[in-house]
Symmetry: C2
């Protein structure tokens, strides 16, 4: 069997990202960050590594970059704390791991991966999950390490808005913010990874779609690897990741049709956001129904692309 | 449109339930409890209530009965604490609510329902979830209220087994234990509810399939309402609830075929357990691959059945 050409895609969140609110400098910073994070995973793939290692590498870079709402730069809850969620899944075996509601590991995606690789469980949450991270030997950081002035300002602004009774302005930094990566390796195996700080001023304890296997994160070599970003509650109700899998598996749809229709249907019920996906042939689909989605990809042609807006 | 004939089914867990380990008295107690819990929901349906209220009523009864691993009688974690999970979903709108890792509300299923009805969220976990329960005015109980001598003995036995390095004996009280109900009301709407204490001697923070929408709990009027019980990690990887939905929706399978094949495939990969399901026509399927599953049902013929073993 010929080796597959490695393919990778990532996202840094979707939302009301408008060119009119951007400066050229900020736009350039996003493009550069997206490229660097993609290259982290691409380097793994091109040196013969697995899709699991590639999506881990890309998401670690995204988590370390305060531009994105995951790891360092995670948004704040109403308690001004961080509660991070992450999940990872490998398409070869459907092995998966997820963590929710923790602030401690520098890289939440490594915590999710440790749940997958070092426990008999799939999903750990809260204090128990944090204790597991400590015993698993993951690098831990204080809460201050994750915070940024920009995210704290976003929290203050949102709390003041709620206090004043003013209408929601649809600010993307509050509404959405997730990072994720999907990849196909030379062995033909798919993997998906997702990591997030959640929503600014979320209720403590709120779990979104990112760590819900079948909603925000899914991978199966027979169909596709998917990582979603958006208004998580809608993505859970639509079982977004597994629904794309089901349409490919049972209705014979191709990836673009399955992923595109699921995102269009989310739009109809008010669920804004998008997703990145790759199938076992190396096809990539990056549908979103919001004005923008931070994204980068490198398909079978080997060319790196980065994009923010619809075109 | 003619009114649908109400239908309801429930489970009290699946596992290595062997007649050789039962006394006639204990068997009779289970049959009586299953019947009483079914009647709680059936009464709601027969007096014109909704499937959502019916599954809530049945699961509340199951939670209050120490014979079952949910609410009072929930199993213990390795810390000798209780961490309960629950989820509820309504097929008419796909509205749903889930909670995870809490010990406080007497009825975890009411906490899940409050998440659905009183928040913009779907899923709350841990301390934040418990605070929400308090502010939502749910009846709260001390940890002692949930404990029973039998569950504490099971924890001690399991901890001693691990200490000694003895092989796992597949004791059902440790491995599985979940309660759930599914129903069809006269309006043609489906609902599903699931509640559990998890696994005896589970790692604190472990989340099983019960609160994972699409895995242990699912409902859509277009297909079916499903509540699962078993080795949760496998049920998450197979997205059991949503996979049954997908086979009915996209492959045109009937409920018995879809539910039966999913449970058979779980068996192949080592995932033991079962599920209860009902479709919009009132068909019921109760497949399980373990020796027994505590279950009760009342189909369109209006006759109440209770069962424990395979036949």
């Amino acid at each position: 069997m010929p080796e597959a050409t490695p393919v990778i895609a990532l996202h840094g969140g979707a939302g009301t990202i408008l060119k009119s609110n951007m400066t050229p400098e900020r736009e350039a910073a996003y493009h550069a960050a997206l490229r660097a994070c993609l290259e982290a995973g691409l380097t793994v793939l091109r040196s013969g590594g697995t899709s699991l290692d590639a999506v881990t590498a890309s998401v670690m870079e995204l988590e370390d970059n305060p531009l994105f709402n995951a790891g360092r730069g995670a948004v704040y809850t109403t308690d001004a704390t961080h509660e991070m969620d992450a999940a990872i899944m490998t398409g070869a075996t459907r092995d998966c791991g997820a963590i929710s509601g923790i602030c401690g590991p520098r890289h939440p995606i490594l915590a999710a991966r440790a749940v997958m690789e070092k426990t008999e469980h799939v999903f750990l949450a809260g204090d128990g999950a944090k204790r597991f991270c400590e015993t698993a030997g993951l690098e831990m950081q204080d809460a201050e390490w994750f915070g940024t002035e920009q995210r704290l300002s976003a929290l203050k602004a949102e709390m003041e808005r709620r206090q004043s009774g003013a209408a929601d302005d649809g600010d993307p930094a509050r509404k959405h913010g997730t990072v994720g990566a999907v990849a196909l390796d030379r062995f033909g195996h798919l993997a998906a990874a997702t990591s997030t700080g959640g929503m600014t001023a979320k209720t403590p304890g709120r779990v979104g779609d990112s760590p819900v296997i079948g909603a925000g994160t899914w991978a199966d070599d027979a169909t596709a690897a998917i990582s979603a970003t958006g208004h998580g509650e809608y993505f859970i109700r639509q079982a977004v990741g597994h629904e794309i899998d089901a349409r490919m598996r049972w209705a014979g749809q191709d990836l673009a049709t399955a992923a595109g229709s699921v995102v269009s249907e989310l739009d109809v019920i008010g669920g804004s956001g998008g997703l990145i996906s790759v199938d076992a042939k190396g096809n990539i689909a990056l549908p979103f129904n919001s004005p923008g989605m931070y994204r980068a990809w490198c398909g079978t042609d080997g060319v790196i692309h980065t994009a923010i807006y619809r075109d």
